[in-house]
């Protein structure tokens, strides 16, 4: 087996394991830490696919910013194991049905997808590099790109409005 392939299998094993540990571990802090590990292994996959920009941005945005906020909120809530409320059987059955359905849908969708065959002779290995990505984003996909940025801006303004202090109100 060539080193890239064995590395791929090792990374995939780690990804699946840490993703499973996210839902298995009882302590929410541990869950978040395993989720961060999952993002790291996903970035490893991106690097194997020669998409370094995507890998770096995945680390910066997800592991560096969003997961810090997750951890932040969970630490503030201070959920301990002993406060965990027991789930009723009805909840468990409903959760199992919903989860199972999602799994069946995903599996069906996965079976239907055709994997694009890549010709190693004509394949451009630089396609995931930041230069080609930037050219593509700012030429062919300029409108969707700008629309996405406006969407993010609107969400940000909304969050600021929600968190804004009213006149005369004091928080501390």
């Amino acid at each position: 087996m060539n080193p890239t392939l064995s590395f791929f299998y090792f990374l995939s094993f780690l990804t699946v394991l840490s993703a499973l540990m996210v839902i298995i571990s009882r302590n929410p802090i541990h869950s978040v830490l395993y989720l961060i590990l999952t993002f790291f292994t996903l970035s490893g996959h991106y690097i194997l696919l020669n998409a370094q920009f995507l890998a770096a941005v995945n680390i910066i945005v997800y592991a560096g910013a969003i997961m810090v906020l997750f951890l932040f909120v969970i630490m503030f809530l201070n959920i301990k194991n002993d406060h965990e409320e027991a789930k009723t059987n009805l909840t468990k059955i409903a959760a199992a049905i919903v989860g199972g359905t999602v799994f069946v849908i995903l599996f069906g969708a996965y079976r239907k997808t055709a994997i694009m065959p890549a010709d190693p002779n004509t394949f451009d290995s630089q396609v995931g590099m930041i230069e080609s990505l930037g050219k593509l984003l700012f030429r062919e996909y300029l409108l969707p790109f700008e629309l996405a940025s406006i969407l993010l801006l609107v969400a940000m303004v909304g969050a600021v409005m929600l968190g804004k202090r009213e006149i005369g109100e004091r928080h501390f």
């Binding site: 592991a63 630490m75 930041i130």
Partner: protein
């Protein structure tokens, strides 16, 4: 990858690693000497000549202290905290270009751990991860003061990362490359970015103070409010790792500041020195000596900024927390956005105008 190339890369990375650790170690000594000088006293002067063995003595003390874990702490995370802090601090030095190339037997060796086309994004990603060591350690201590320190560190790092990233974008717009090697090479011949980006430099410097949790932004370990902050429960070498990680961060951020804004290994009159040396000693030896001089200049710049960190620490008082947040969100971020707009306008309109005038 060929075996010789692999061995060369391994050796470069090892040298970078050892150098970073060594400089961080002697920064602790330097900090005390600077503090002593500013407060009109001697500083460490007992261990070795001029106190030079003081870092070794401190390390020995740290190792032989009792390794204590509080009863209600989360044991694994308590150990993981300082380890992560050290890991993320050491990761960033891999992409910094310490000098141009070494010639040996017709092989050119770049004095840089990894030449990556996303170099500055890598640094930024590692900086973004730096907060985990503090957060995990502070939470795992199971102590209210540690938790408050950890949360302060997290919110401070997230806030200042935004302004830092925005000030970086102005640099990237000028250099149109993410690779640190390219950014340094473009500053050759006195074209240092500091002359084009003075505002961006000030924003970047302020943010790197905040990211390193140094005075005046050391609110996470503010002893008047939080006992010891996130490392209240830590002792022995685990505390040592936290303190050591701070010094590594200081050195790495100083190196990055000198790479981005002060031309890295470039210095005035570089081409003249290079030509003299190659004329006098041949293309191999002369080239290597010129590279060594460049590396020396680079370390000089980086160490000056390490000194600058210490100078600020012993001169300025600490901010209040709301002042820190207001500075980050209401002043630095709008300033950084204005800087981006000015840079964009200059690149689009001013640069063609000036070049047309010159030609």
């Amino acid at each position: 990858m060929e075996l010789t190339e692999f061995i060369i890369k391994t050796l470069t990375i090892l040298v970078v690693f050892v150098l970073t650790l060594l400089i961080a170690m002697y920064s602790t000594w330097g900090e005390r000497k600077v503090a002593g000088f500013i407060q009109d006293r001697m500083g460490p002067n007992r261990a070795g000549p001029g106190g030079l063995l003081q870092p070794l003595a401190d390390a020995g003390k740290m190792f032989f202290k009792e390794d204590f874990i509080p009863a209600l702490a989360s044991k694994w995370l308590f150990i993981a905290g300082p380890s992560l802090a050290m890991l993320t601090a050491l990761l960033a030095s891999a992409v910094i270009p310490f000098g141009s190339t070494f010639r040996y037997d017709g092989v050119e060796v770049v004095l840089q751990g990894v030449e990556s086309n996303i170099g500055i994004l890598y640094v930024f990603g590692v900086v973004a991860l730096g907060v985990y060591g503090i957060m995990i350690g502070g939470w795992a201590s199971n102590n209210k003061f540690s938790l408050l320190g950890a949360i302060r560190a997290a919110s401070q790092n997230i806030s200042y990362e935004v302004a830092m990233g925005l000030s970086l974008i102005a640099i990237l717009m000028m250099s149109s490359s993410l690779s640190l090697g390219d950014i340094v090479a473009q500053q050759h011949g006195g074209n240092w970015n500091i002359f084009y980006q003075p505002l961006g430099f000030i924003i970047f410097l302020t943010c790197s103070f905040a990211e390193c949790n140094r005075v005046p932004f050391d609110l996470p370990e503010c002893e008047t409010e939080l006992v010891g902050g996130y490392h209240t429960e830590y002792g022995s070498m685990k505390l040592g790792f936290y303190l050591f990680a701070e010094y590594i961060n200081m050195f790495v951020s100083s190196a990055i500041i000198s790479t981005l804004y002060f031309g890295g290994y470039n210095y005035p009159g570089m081409d003249w020195v290079y030509n003299q040396l190659t004329a006098a000693m041949g293309t191999t030896t002369g080239h290597n000596i010129a590279t060594l001089i460049g590396t020396g200049v680079f370390f000089g710049k980086a160490l000056f900024f390490v000194f600058f960190y210490m100078w600020v620490r012993w001169t300025l008082p600490r901010f209040r927390y709301d002042q820190l947040m207001n500075l980050g969100w209401k002043k630095l971020i709008p300033l950084a956005i204005i800087n981006i707009i000015i840079t964009g306008a200059s690149v689009l309109f001013l640069k063609p105008f000036i070049t047309s005038l010159l030609n």
